[in-house]
Structures are given as structure tokens and as C-alpha cells.
Amino acid sequence: MTERVAATPGIYPLPDWAKGTLSDLKGHQKGDLLSGDEGEEIAGTYDEVRAEFVDDQLEAGLDRVVEGQGRWDDMMAHPLTVHDGVETGGIVRYYDNNNFYRDPRVVDDLGFSGDVAGELESARALLAEAGSDGAPLAATLPGPYSLAALATDEHYGDDDEFQAGIAEFLAGEVEAFPAHETLFLLEPSLVTDPPADGTEERATGAIATVADATDADVVVQTFYGALDEKLYAHLVDEADADALGLDLVAGDREDTVYNVQEYGSTDSVALGLVDGQNTLVEEPETVAERVEWFEGQVPTADFGTTYLTPNTELFYLPENKYRAKLSALAAATEVLA
């Protein structure tokens, strides 16, 4: 019997009050963005934001709670842009979106940071305070392939070493995380900018390095469309993921189903079911139908777990719609129960 779990990979939009407060405290320019050593007032504001994110998820009834990543000014590039071995360069485009982040120029060894672990400790404390049973913590990190793709190497000097350096850095961060039930590794670059023919194993090996650093279930969330079939097969076999996350919103979902039919799947699966980049809020019944449609198309007898997720991060949305999307996912698991 497949367990259905409503969860998100995080990177939420700041509440509107915090958009104003933080831009007043920090400023609007490139040099004003977070460097990881923010003062008390800014840190206090982020504490409030985090508490609100946790409440939002508990109220919606999600089965996993993420920290929400309100501090991630540079979205998925955050773990690097606050790192001591990284200098931030110009503002560059974030995938195919009207969004931008600071180019992380890696200029030194990527040693241990602990920035994300600190956030997770705080989120864990909030969950303990709320006394929430059954909604354990989920951690979020960029996957090593995408993080390397988002960054500029000015230190390692070789693609193999850079990729390995990033993977080892992320694995070290994961080892410092407090107990978590699930780890989401976000890997959109596998779709948008897949590894060249013959270099798939470098990418999957890097992901496995990070995945192996935790006992939690690891979801490798791919998005912005369907995976190339050969890469899909590599990921199933080599990435050590408990679940591959597949985007059923963007791109051709028939391609995704074909991949699963042809090459099998991880024991569990994460389905990107609600559109993280559109304000149209899906009905829970629609989300549930998409789950049943997918499960009905593929030969696998039973997935251990099917994660019901948005296809992307949710920061693209205004705050009212982001909350509505959380509720739609949670309600869909009720429809399926």
C-alpha cells in the first residue's frame, strides 16, 4: 500500500510584511543581500518569518515541514553565496525566469559552513514547540549538479574536481543537520542543462555522495520539464535516491511516464503536481486525479511512498497563492485516503 505524503521542497515567498521590513533593514542593492552574518534585527525578522512558514505548513496539514528558506536571497545558490570561500559576482538570470541571483564565484576550498544546519535547528525547535506529531522535518538543499551549474569555478580549475568539491561540501553540510525525515535535493539543471553524453555518472555520483550522507529518505527533485530518458535511467540506478521527483506540470508528462514505463523507477516517487509558477490553484480532486493517473500508467506494483509536491519552489507566487497551494496538496492526500 503506497503511502501518500504531502510535502514541498521549500524556498517560499516572504510574507508581504517581511518583504517590506527586510528591504528596509537590508536595502535593495546587490551588496545589501545576505552574507550569512546578519545582525540581530535582521536575524530576528527571519526568525519570525520561519515561525510563520512552519505555522503555514502545519495549518495546511502537510506531512513534512520545511524551514521555508526565507533567507535564501539567491534561491538555490544560497549555500554558496553565504560561503566564506565564495565571492559574489554580478546578478545573473535564474534559469529561464524573470528572476536573478548573485553569481557565486568559488575562489577557495569549499569547507564546512553550517549555515543551513543552523536554520534547520531553528525549524526543529519550532516544531518541537508546536508539539506537532506526524509532521516531521524535511531538509532542502540544491543538488550538487545544479549547484555547480549555478556557480562559477575560479578555484578547482577542472569540471570533475569542481563537481566533486561541491558534492563533498554539501555532504558535509548534511552531516551537520539535525534529525530529519526527508532530504530534498533540488536538481532542475538535470532537465534544463543535462550532463553531456558520457558524463552522466559524474552527475549521479555527485548526487549519491550527498544522498549517502543522511539516513533520511532522499528525494531528488527534478523540474522545469521531463528528464532525458538516458539520464533518467542513470538517475534511477546510480543516484542512491529513495525517490526521484518528476515534474508533471511543465513539459511533456507523457515523456515522464514513458521513462518510468521503460526504465522502472526508484522505490518511491515524488510528483510535481501543483504549478509552483502559476497563481491558478489546483482543486484537491484534480491533484488526486493526477496522482491516480500517474500511478495507473506505470507498471510498478506499488511505490513505497508517493510524495505530492509542487513542481518547483514556491517563491514565484504571491503569498496568498503560495498558502493555497500548500492546502491543495494536503487536501489531495485526504481525497486519496
Binding site: P13, L14, D16, K19, L22, S23, K26, G27, H28, Q29, K30, D32, L33, D73, I91, R93, Y94, D96, N98, N99, F100, Y101, Q277, N278, T279, L280, F315, Y316, L317, P318, E319, N320, K321
Partner: protein, 357 residues
């Protein structure tokens, strides 16, 4: 296929133009708002203030008059009101087009947000969007007034699409509305319209959608009306030579920012519309000296002859301090008039415009 720019260019030559050569000078549109106007925008939101919508309308009129005259004082051949009434290039139009709704701000980068609207039903045309502001500006202006309009591709792709099966279909519906608006502007006397499509720079592979939208926009628009297209901050090699097929009179580009590295892109095959070349950087606070701007203008002559060259800043100047925006505009016009005189005197080799005379 390109329109007929030579049919509409001469109407913008001022009667007292000092040179035979005529490089049309213009601006992209936005200009720094006077500080008091920003204060007025805030004041009208303040429930404790007596300052109301009518007061704000008066403030907008005053600001438009001021900036239109500031453009004329700088010597521009064609002027804009500096978009004093507009807040943001998508929001302003989405507020005027039926079918859009607003849910709140979304992040662009860092702590920069915009009120990205959602299209929740079929878009439709209700009241004219810009005719009143055009009437006002053309009444206070001595020079011809250019009207910038955010293009349908940007209005479509920089919104959330809840209502249409594909955003492409939304873009075509929006293009029909823009066409209706351009017709009304032309009836009101407008002869120079610029379609702004910054979103094309982010997804240049969609150039055919923009082309189809432009076909709809110019449908029934007489050739005496000059239609420009402004696209900024992108890799032009991904839309060139395709833009040669667009039904436009003029293609307006931002190249000063990139130090003209992309100019060779436009030299082969032959550039068909008129070229509107950015010659001052919209994002540096230093006023370029006249000599430097003259060298920039010569870059344009590598692509088109003088009678097909229009000169403008790279992009809207609204993020600059106002005195810097004015200084850049004034120096730009001075540089243009000097280059024209040098062309008249045969001092510039039009076959090798970068060569020293």
C-alpha cells in the same frame, strides 16, 4: 516584412534643423520622477492626508509637463512625458486591461519585487489606455510625441496565465488589444509608437510569437505612422536576422552597456528597418562626454546609413539621478548634431565610419 521607414521619418525633422544630415533623436521612455512626485504617490495612500486622487492627477499633469519640456530643452527631436503616470511597465497596463487581477508582490531578485498580475479570464478592451496622456502631452509639447507601449509578449509572459490554454494565445489576444489602442492613438494624432518587449530578450527562441503579435499590432496602421520595437539586455544574435522580417520601421537596441561588442551581429545580412541605437548607458551614473557619445554614434553607421539611423539612450533612464539623466540626454543631442555636421562636411567616411577623418 519591414514597414516603410523612409515614408515617415522626415516628419520628425524640425523646421529649424541645422544640418542636411538628420539623425533622429529620441528617448526610450521612462525618466526619473521628481522627488515630490514620489512623495505625492505616497501621500495619496495616507488616510490621514487631505491629498486626494484629484490632487495626484494634477501632480501627474505637472510632472508630465515638466519632463516633456525638459526633453525639449535637451534638444530632442521627439519627446516623451517620461512615463510620469506609470508605476511599472506591466502593472500599468494590467490595471487598464479587463481580465487581469493582482494578488500581491512577487520577487524578481533580492528585495526587489513587482506586482505580477494574473490573467484570470479572456482579456478585453474597455477604456483607452494612453489616449488621454497622449492628448495632454501633445498639447504641451512643441515637438512630436512618441508613445511607448509595453508589448503583448511582455504583457503575457510577465503575468501568470490562469485563463488561456497557452500563453502564446494570450499574447495574440493582447496584440489585438494593442492594435485597438494604437488605432485610437493614431486617431488622436500620434505618429510615433514604440512597442517595448524586454521579455523577448529572456526567451529569444520565441521570436516568431513576437513577429506574429507585431503583425496583429500594425494591422491597418498607415505607413505614415512610425512603429518602433525596443528590446534590451539580451543576446541579439539570437533574434537577428529574424527581426528583419518584423513589420516595424525601427529596431531600438541597448548596446552602449556592452561596449558595442554586438554591433557586428547586425552587419550581415543587411539591416532592414531603421536602427535606433543606444549611445548612453542607462545604468551608469557618469555622464558620458560628447566626444565619447560621438564615437558611439559612429558604431551605428557601421550598420545603417545616416538616413536610417536614430539615436537614443540604451533604455529608459528612470533609475538615474535626474540631473544625470538630463546631462546624458543633452550631451547625446549635442553629439548627434556635431556628427551630422561632420557628415555634411564629408569628414566621416560612411564606408568606414570608425576610421579617423
Amino acid at each position: 516584412m519591414v514597414r516603410n521607414p523612409s515614408a515617415n521619418r522626415e516628419q520628425f525633422r524640425p523646421t529649424d534643423h541645422p544640418n542636411d544630415a538628420f539623425l533622429l533623436t529620441t528617448v526610450v521612455g521612462s525618466y526619473p520622477k521628481p522627488k515630490w512626485l514620489n512623495r505625492a504617490d505616497e501621500l495619496v495612500e495616507d488616510p490621514d492626508s487631505k491629498f486626494d486622487e484629484a490632487d495626484l492627477a494634477e501632480a501627474h499633469d505637472d510632472a508630465c509637463r515638466l519632463i516633456t519640456h525638459e526633453h525639449e530643452r535637451a534638444g530632442l527631436d521627439t519627446v516623451v512625458d517620461g512615463e510620469m503616470r506609470r508605476n511599472e511597465m506591466v502593472e500599468f497596463f494590467a490595471e487598464r486591461i479587463d481580465g487581469y487581477e493582482f494578488n500581491g508582490p512577487v520577487k524578481v531578485w533580492g528585495h526587489n519585487y513587482f506586482d505580477k498580475p494574473s490573467v484570470v479570464e479572456e482579456v478585453s478592451y474597455n477604456e483607452p489606455w494612453l489616449v488621454d496622456e497622449f492628448d495632454f502631452t501633445s498639447n504641451v509639447a512643441e515637438r512630436p510625441v512618441k508613445v511607448p507601449i509595453t508589448g503583448p509578449y511582455t504583457l503575457g509572459f510577465w503575468a501568470f496565465n490562469e485563463a488561456y490554454p497557452s500563453t502564446e494565445e494570450l499574447v495574440y489576444d493582447l496584440a489585438d488589444l494593442v492594435n485597438e489602442e494604437v488605432e485610437k492613438l493614431v486617431e488622436a494624432g500620434a505618429r510615433y509608437v514604440q512597442i517595448d518587449e524586454p521579455a523577448l530578450a529572456t526567451t529569444p527562441e520565441d521570436h516568431a510569437i513576437v513577429g506574429e503579435a507585431l503583425d496583429r499590432i500594425v494591422s491597418g496602421i498607415d505607413e505614415e505612422v512610425r512603429i518602433g520595437l525596443h528590446v534590451c539586455y539580451g543576446d541579439y544574435s539570437r533574434v537577428y536576422p529574424e527581426i528583419n522580417d518584423y513589420p516595424i520601421d525601427e529596431f531600438d537596441v541597448e548596446l552602449c552597456n556592452g561596449d558595442y561588442e554586438q554591433i557586428p551581429t547586425f552587419t550581415e545580412p543587411t539591416f532592414e528597418p531603421d536602427l535606433a541605437l543606444g549611445v548612453v548607458d542607462a545604468h551608469t551614473a557618469e555622464i558620458e562626454p560628447v566626444e565619447e557619445i560621438k564615437a558611439n554614434i559612429r558604431q551605428g553607421l557601421r550598420v545603417v546609413p545616416p538616413e536610417k539611423l536614430t539615436i537614443s539612450p540604451d533604455c529608459g533612464l528612470k533609475l538615474l539621478p535626474r540631473e544625470v539623466a538630463y546631462g546624458k540626454t543633452e550631451n547625446m543631442v549635442t553629439a548627434v548634431r556635431e556628427v551630422e555636421a561632420e557628415i555634411d562636411a564629408g569628414e566621416i567616411d560612411l564606408d568606414a565610419p570608425l576610421a579617423d577623418d
